[in-house]
């Protein structure tokens, strides 16, 4: 078991190295370097003269080692992240990228995890409800909605929700976590309620597809399990149907759901990405999108890396959870 976890950890480190490499290559691909953008920005925004801006850009190159060969730059970047938590410098925010990520990543995580939690609970419950009623009206309705929810682009659902919230219900401050009066206030029940009112659309959008997926997986597994002989045995012992379902069938149908958790996290993060970009909720996602538009390369690279870390850690946790849950898993 320990051996298995260790092996998974080594694999994860390799994957992370690859992801950091790819992130770095991606931010190096556009023509021109970071300092050139900086120079352009100095000229455009603060009206600096060409020579002064060039001098400032040279200083910048010196300071961030942009004159070094690209492989050295990569090692410096990774070394900075690993040893000092230094992700580089953001032009648009004029701040350290590490600080920005530390500020916003927890929000993204919170939103994605909440979406994950609600969609798992609702999806599994609906799955358990419809599986014994195969091809009934409720089953067909649930299947129809499951298909629909996974086919509608999530950015579009976000658009519709914004439209409804703003133009029908007249809610202001859609793209924030709090109403202004609570922004600086300490946490209280009223603030929590206000918080929930602001974040539910993102959770709803990110979670919809997850509900459908969980429901389909749960329904399929449960149908398989309900055909198994030990379920017939349990029934013929004279157990109540609810006991057969909850005690014998459901626990055995749960494994694929756990196995899917590693895949579900990226799905939720992507859902959060789409919803948050459209609603411009100040999580990590709109920052990522803006950095792409303004070529704020260290933000782009660092956030790509963070998404990779999220995925790898999620997969790792799911694998370990499954190994703990299911003694039949072979550690190879």
């Amino acid at each position: 078991m320990i051996n298995y976890i260790l092996r998974r950890l080594v694999m994860a480190v390799f994957v992370l190295i690859m992801i950091s490499l790819v992130s770095f290559i991606v931010i190096q691909l556009p023509p021109g370097d970071f300092a050139q953008n900086y120079k352009r920005q100095l000229i455009n925004r603060s009206g600096m003269a060409e020579e002064d801006a060039e001098a400032a850009a040279d200083l910048f190159r010196e300071r961030y080692g942009l004159n070094d060969p690209v492989p050295i730059q990569y090692f410096n970047w990774v070394w900075g992240i690993v040893t000092r938590g230094d992700f580089g410098y953001s032009m648009s925010y004029s701040r350290d990228v590490g600080e920005l990520i530390a500020e916003r990543l927890p929000r993204t995580l919170l939103l994605a995890l909440l979406a994950h939690l609600t969609s798992s609970i609702i999806g599994i419950t609906v799955g358990i409800f419809v599986a014994p009623r195969q091809y009934s009206l409720s089953d067909n309705v649930a299947s129809f909605f499951a298909f629909l929810f996974t086919s509608v682009p999530r950015f579009w659902i976000a658009l519709v929700l914004i439209y409804l919230l703003v133009f029908t219900f007249g809610q202001q401050h859609v793209s924030s976590f709090h109403s202004p009066q609570y922004a600086l206030a300490p946490w209280s029940w009223a603030k929590l309620w206000d918080f929930i009112q602001h974040i539910w659309p993102v959770i709803f959008i990110a979670g919809l597809g997850g509900i459908a997926r969980n429901m389909r997986v749960m329904r399929g597994n449960l149908l398989d399990v309900l055909n198994a002989q030990y379920v017939t045995t349990a029934r013929s012992k004279g157990l109540r149907e609810s006991a057969v379902l909850m005690r014998h069938a459901v626990p055995n149908a749960m494994h694929p759901i756990v196995m899917n958790q590693g895949l579900a996290l990226p799905y939720m993060v992507q859902g959060e990405l789409q919803a948050a970009v459209v609603m411009s909720i100040p999580s990590i996602s709109p920052m990522f999108y803006d950095s792409l538009i303004f070529q704020d390369i260290y933000v782009t690279g660092s956030i790509l890396l963070m998404y990779g870390v999220l995925l790898v850690v999620g997969n790792l946790l799911a694998d370990i959870a499954l190994a703990l849950l299911d003694p039949r898993i072979r550690y190879s």
Partner: protein, 378 residues
């Protein structure tokens, strides 16, 4: 064709008179029975026809600017006129715009004084059918002087319906092109990995695992944001397809590998080997055709995800660029809350996306069940 085969076989082996169904006949028989699969196929064919012959289906040139008609709401098709008489031939009214003097919001109303009859198979603006045959025939149109925008117009006064049909060309062909690239890469790597096994297999599988753990959507966004918007439309299109293929070949590589590993130990492959067939011959003549049905299934199943991703990227403005048009790009202006609030009909292209995604999913499900007609149904 099948009759011909049968007579030939019959001539060779006179005792065998029973007709044997071929693989594709069996597949078709099974496919036909599944209702969702048929519905899916109909949806896909419908969209393909709409986009291929989009010029025929759009009464006005979907590329021509008409700034007076900017953001016209969907026009109603009437059967009953002001006087209450019922017309057999549907007609439209002209729409005119007024400004609300308090909010300065445009208010559209119908000019009920004159009716414009809707006509079918009319001659209108000129186009080239399939880019080859010059034509000016259209499915429907309206009398001279009238307008017919059944889904409204966009910011530049272009017909949303006509543009949505035309956008299908880009959105669907990009999904198809992207999947074809990923199939070319994925199936070759999958066959190689499954056939040779050993360290090659190990290496390729670790590589697949690595690619699979990349954050798909963020990487797609980052890569397609790098493409300079100044490139010509075709290069952007090809580049985006390659970007989509880059991360989506892994599913196929895995599935094909599994199939090939199962086939590797079968008698007909062993027989081919004993007869001295080269590896290349075994792979391309014996293994590949046997995996083909499976590959087609994966192709159908992976198209929806590319359609969705392309729509999102184009919606954000980092995908397809004007003057080309895709379903996502048509909703680009909906990003602005003011535009969205005043003109909710610009969100209509989503219906096409949903139909495409549902259609390919249903079709893929049906094909997956039908691709293995020898399986015993429980």
């Amino acid at each position: 064709m099948s009759e011909l085969n049968q007579t030939q076989e019959g001539a060779l082996e006179p005792q065998e008179t029973e007709h044997h169904e071929g693989y594709f006949e069996l597949v078709w028989r099974k496919f036909r029975k599944s209702k969702p699969a048929i519905i899916g196929a109909v949806m896909v064919v419908l969209l393909a026809v709409l986009s291929l012959f989009s010029d025929f289906f759009s009464p006005t040139d979907p590329m021509e600017l008409n700034l007076q008609g900017s953001f016209t709401p969907p026009q109603r098709i009437h059967f009953v006129d002001e006087a209450g008489t019922w017309h057999l031939r549907p007609f439209t009214y002209l729409q005119y715009v007024d400004l609300d003097l308090e909010t300065f919001a445009p208010i559209w109303s119908e000019d009920r004084s004159q009716t414009y009859d809707l006509k079918f198979f009319v001659r209108g603006w000129e186009y080239k059918l399939l880019g080859l045959i010059p034509m000016d025939l259209h499915l429907y149109g309206v009398e001279e002087g009238g307008t017919v925008y059944i889904l409204g117009t966009d910011k530049f006064g272009r017909d949303v319906w006509g543009r949505a049909c035309r956008a299908g060309r880009i959105s669907l062909s990009m999904a198809l092109f992207g999947t074809l690239i990923s199939i070319a890469a994925g199936s070759v790597l999958g066959v190689v990995s499954g056939y040779y096994g050993g360290w090659i297999d190990n290496l390729l599988q670790r590589f697949v695992e690595m690619v699979r753990s990349f954050p798909q959507l963020p990487l797609w966004m980052a890569l397609s944001a790098i493409i300079p918007p100044t490139w010509d439309s075709l290069s952007i299109f090809v580049m985006m397809s390659i970007i989509f293929a880059l991360l989506s070949w892994t599913t196929l590589a895995r599935e094909v590998r599994g199939k090939v590993m199962a086939f590797r130990e079968t008698d007909f492959i062993l027989a081919a080997k004993e007869m001295g067939a080269s590896d290349a011959r075994i792979i391309f003549v014996h293994l590949y055709p046997n995996c083909l049905s499976h590959i087609i299934v994966v192709l159908t199943m992976s198209i929806p995800s590319i359609i969705m991703a392309e729509a999102f990227l184009s919606f954000l403005g980092i995908g397809i660029q004007e003057p080309w048009v895709s379903w996502g790009l048509m909703m680009h202006s909906a990003q602005n809350l003011e535009t969205l609030g005043g003109h909710p009909w610009i969100m209509i292209p989503v219906v096409f996306i949903v139909v495409a995604v549902l259609g390919f999913n249903f079709l893929g499900d049906g094909l997956r069940d039908a691709a293995d007609p020898y399986a015993i149904v429980r």
